[in-house]
């Protein structure tokens, strides 16, 4: 199967889009903020345990 230049560009763009979506939703970076630690808890029943 022979692909022209425009087809190659389409496939590159498609792969980039798919990689972006997979990285965003399936392997997201750890969200910034507080890490889980016992000392982060405010109350005994705060739900962190």
């Amino acid at each position: 199967m022979k692909m022209d230049f425009q087809e190659v560009l389409v496939y590159i763009t498609l792969i980039a889009a798919l990689v972006f979506l997979v990285k965003k939703y399936l392997w997201p970076k750890t969200a910034p903020g507080r890490g889980k630690s016992a000392s982060s808890c405010g109350q005994d029943d705060c739900g962190c345990h």
Binding site: E7, V10, A31, G33, G42, Q43, D44, D45, G47
Partner: protein, 745 residues
């Protein structure tokens, strides 16, 4: 960072800590005349006057070191743990000139921890207006510290503050109050048991509900030498300590702080009486909402139409200017159509954030919090839940994080679970386009039906949130309520700089944040819509040509051609119609024949594109779950848009824009394409009152936001709650939309 001075900015909520942070670091963190903006620590670097660097940490607001909530404990954790990498070399306590007495309580506690402490008195620009005079020298002497008189609004006093930070080593580290007076014997025993530790630090550790490494509460309480005290006894001693501190503060301020009541204006009190009135307060709030929504519709119509038309032209230009091929099609039909689907909403989003920013900056938002607190108490929520619910109108993610200042876990959980019902800005594009399509343009008492509908949707979101809270309150059975104290800041004329900054930043983050997702989804959708493996997809042209030959054009194509021909015959074009090669003007009959042939070609092209799309990969996916969305009045294309907008609600319009433009050669706006869409079964417009309202209600109630789910998971530390939330909201949204459509159609 090891050579830089570590500075912690600490203070009561709404004293302008983040404004001081921004001025010191040159960063632009969000600020507001509204308590509870900062719930996590923020960091930045400041270059001091002597060339040294300071590492500035902006901490969440806290009224004292007696913590009750998660965000407040961030401050205490830092100040009690010298091993913490952020433990400050100097604590800068920010206070408000008008609330100095209350703000100094925290200052005296921090000073007693024997940390070098600087006092910043902010909002100094209000001193003259409020008739306040201050003897700074004497105040410095009595509080045993250096004071910087600052106005972040005017940008004054910041250089002096930088100099004081640079010279922090000259600050006294002596305690300003001897807290052991409240229970001398107990404190003496405490010190004897742990001779190497600071006495006030020991007292704080023993009275908090949190463990602070390396000093652990268990170790303190299990000591045999120390007489044990019950929780109630400790609380009583804490109250005694607070009274003792206020007595000291009163004595200090009596000699250094004067307010001339004749100079102070009573405007604030009069305004508060009206704006927080139990009837007029709510009326004014509703009127303000109406004004906002009317403005969103009226003022943004022209720029919205302009942007929509520009994207349609750009798409046409790309098709005509670039070499023909699949990538050109992807640019014109996929990327430009998809991005256009979000960019057209910039005017509305900007107006929404302009109004929110004006309300926050002026100090009115705190009055709204007060009004809502009264309204929400019967539904089992305290005023502490109001801040997240109101900030949820911008975005549910920071709103869920803002629940950290609710100390009662169940109350916090309920607020987290109901916050996504409030109408966030991501719902706005869906609401605006559907309202524009299905709600007539008339008005009542000068207010358009469309603006009223939008306001009703915002009220519906809020009402659903508090009703859901009532149900959850019954199920989860909350014991005890959070203690709620709302800060009533002074009314201020909004600073143009802050307003513009908020509008630009919020709009930018809306467009860029959603834009990246939309761009990626549009590319995938275009690919799925332009490719297929079935016999029908590959032979669409022959099949449609055969069908037209045997059965004629579809009803929709016939109507389309008749309309266009009528338009052509009645317009000026007919008399001007010349042959491009010869320059001879055609007779009207010939002109109509030529136009008819052109329209037939266009209609045939549309039918082929539509047939091909239906049998493309995306058509196959959409058709496979069409039975699920059909009872709600939707077709498979809307079904696809609902599916993709699970990533983020804004994706809905962009998805439809991409799907409708695949293979379509007509230069048309998104709104025009949606209005022209025909229901495959009823052969009537797809977006009608019944399906439109059903769709709006689906988006009002469904949990269509993966980022919010991720934040809920993080804040509750479990998948149980976000999954329950997702399941409940989706089923509820589906049922409401189903019932609505079945009744209305």
């Amino acid at each position: 960072m090891s050579n830089s001075i570590k500075v912690a900015l600490i203070g009561n909520p709404n004293t302008g800590k983040t404004s001081v942070f921004n001025q010191l670091t040159g960063l632009k963190q969000k600020v507001g005349n509204y308590p509870g903006i900062t719930v996590e620590k923020k960091e930045g670097i400041c270059k001091l006057s002597n060339g040294q660097k300071a590492h500035i940490i902006d901490l969440p607001g806290t009224y004292s070191l007696n913590t009750t909530s998660l965000d407040e404990s961030v401050v205490v954790e830092l100040l009690l743990n010298k091993r913490n990498e952020d433990f400050p070399d100097v604590a800068v306590v920010i206070t408000d000139i008008e609330n100095l007495k209350r703000n100094l309580l925290l200052f005296t506690q921090i000073k007693d921890l024997k940390i070098p402490t600087l006092l910043v008195i902010n909002m100094a620009d209000r001193m003259v207006k409020k008739g306040i005079t201050l003897n700074i020298k004497e105040l410095e002497q009595k509080l045993d510290t250096r004071i910087a008189l600052v106005s972040t609004r005017k940008g004054t006093g910041i250089e002096e503050l930088k100099t004081s930070i640079a010279n922090y080593s000259e600050l006294s580290t002596e305690a300003v109050i001897n807290a052991s007076h409240i229970a001398p014997e107990y404190f003496e025993r405490l010190q004897k048991t742990f001779p190497g530790e600071e006495l006030y630090k020991l007292w704080l550790v023993i009275t908090q509900d949190v463990n602070f490494m390396p000093l652990e509460k268990d170790r303190l309480q299990s000591s045999e030498l120390l007489p044990t005290k019950s929780k109630a006894e400790l609380k009583r001693l804490q109250h005694k300590e607070t009274i003792y501190r206020y007595r000291f503060i009163n004595n200090v301020l009596k000699e250094t702080y004067r307010v001339d009541p004749s100079a102070a204006k009573g405007l604030r009190a009069s305004l508060d009486r009206i704006l927080t009135h139990k009837i007029f307060g709510y009326l004014i709030f509703v009127l303000l909402l109406l004004l906002i929504f009317q403005a969103i519709f009226d003022w943004s119509q022209i720029p919205m139409d302009f942007i929509d038309a520009q994207f349609a032209s750009a798409s046409e230009w790309v098709k005509n200017s670039l070499p023909p091929g699949v990538f050109t099609n992807l640019l014109a039909e996929g990327i430009l159509a998809g991005i256009g689907g979000i960019v057209i909403f910039i005017p509305q989003i900007a107006f929404l954030f302009l109004f929110i920013s004006l309300l926050e900056e002026s100090g009115y938002m705190s009055r709204v919090v007060f009004l809502m607190d009264r309204l929400m108490r019967p539904f089992g929520l305290s005023g502490k839940s109001v801040v997240p619910l109101i900030s949820g109108t911008a975005c549910a993610i920071p709103a869920v994080m803002a629940t950290r200042n609710i100390e009662n876990w169940k109350e916090r959980l309920i607020t987290i679970l109901v916050t996504p019902f409030t109408t966030c800005s991501a719902r706005l594009p869906v609401y605006l386009i559907i309202i524009a399509l299905v709600i007539p343009e008339g008005s009542v008492l000068g207010l358009s039906y469309q603006a009223l509908t939008l306001m009703l949707l915002y009220l519906l979101g809020f009402a659903t949130a508090i009703l859901a809270a009532l149900v959850l309150h019954r199920v989860l059975k909350i014991e005890g309520r959070s203690f709620f104290m709302v800060e009533m800041p002074s009314y201020k004329l909004p600073l143009l700089r802050n307003v513009i900054y908020t509008v630009v930043e919020k709009t930018k983050s809306f467009v860029v944040g959603a834009g990246k997702i939309i761009l990626a989804i549009s590319i995938v959708l275009w690919f799925l819509g332009s490719n297929g493996f079935s016999y029908e997809f590959k032979n669409a042209e022959e099949i449609i040509a055969e069908r037209i030959k045997n059965e004629g054009f579809s009803t929709y194509s016939k109507a389309f051609m008749n309309d266009k021909l009528e338009e052509y015959s009645s317009g000026d074009q007919l008399s001007d119609d010349k042959d491009l090669n010869t320059g001879v003007t055609h007779s009207p009959k010939v002109s109509v024949e030529i136009k008819t042939r052109q329209l037939q070609e266009a209609a045939k092209g549309q039918e082929i594109a539509s047939y091909r799309l239906e049998h493309s990969l995306i058509g196959n996916i959409g058709k496979s779950f069409e039975p699920l969305v059909k009872p709600l009045g939707y077709d498979w294309k809307i079904g696809i848009a609902i599916l993709t907008s699970f990533a983020a609600r804004e994706v809905f319009v962009a998805t439809l824009a991409t799907i409708y433009s695949v293979g379509n050669d007509e230069e048309e706006t998104i709104k025009g394409r949606m209005a022209a869409e025909i229901h495959p079964d009823t052969k009537k417009p797809l977006f009608n009152l019944a399906s439109g309202i059903s769709l709006i209600l689906f988006y009002a109630f469904a949990m269509q936001c993966m980022s919010t789910l991720a934040v809920v998971k993080k804040e509750t530390n479990s998948w149980r709650w976000p999954l329950l939330q997702l399941g409940f909201m989706t089923v509820f949204a589906y049922l409401v939309s189903l019932i609505t459509y079945q009744i209305l159609h």
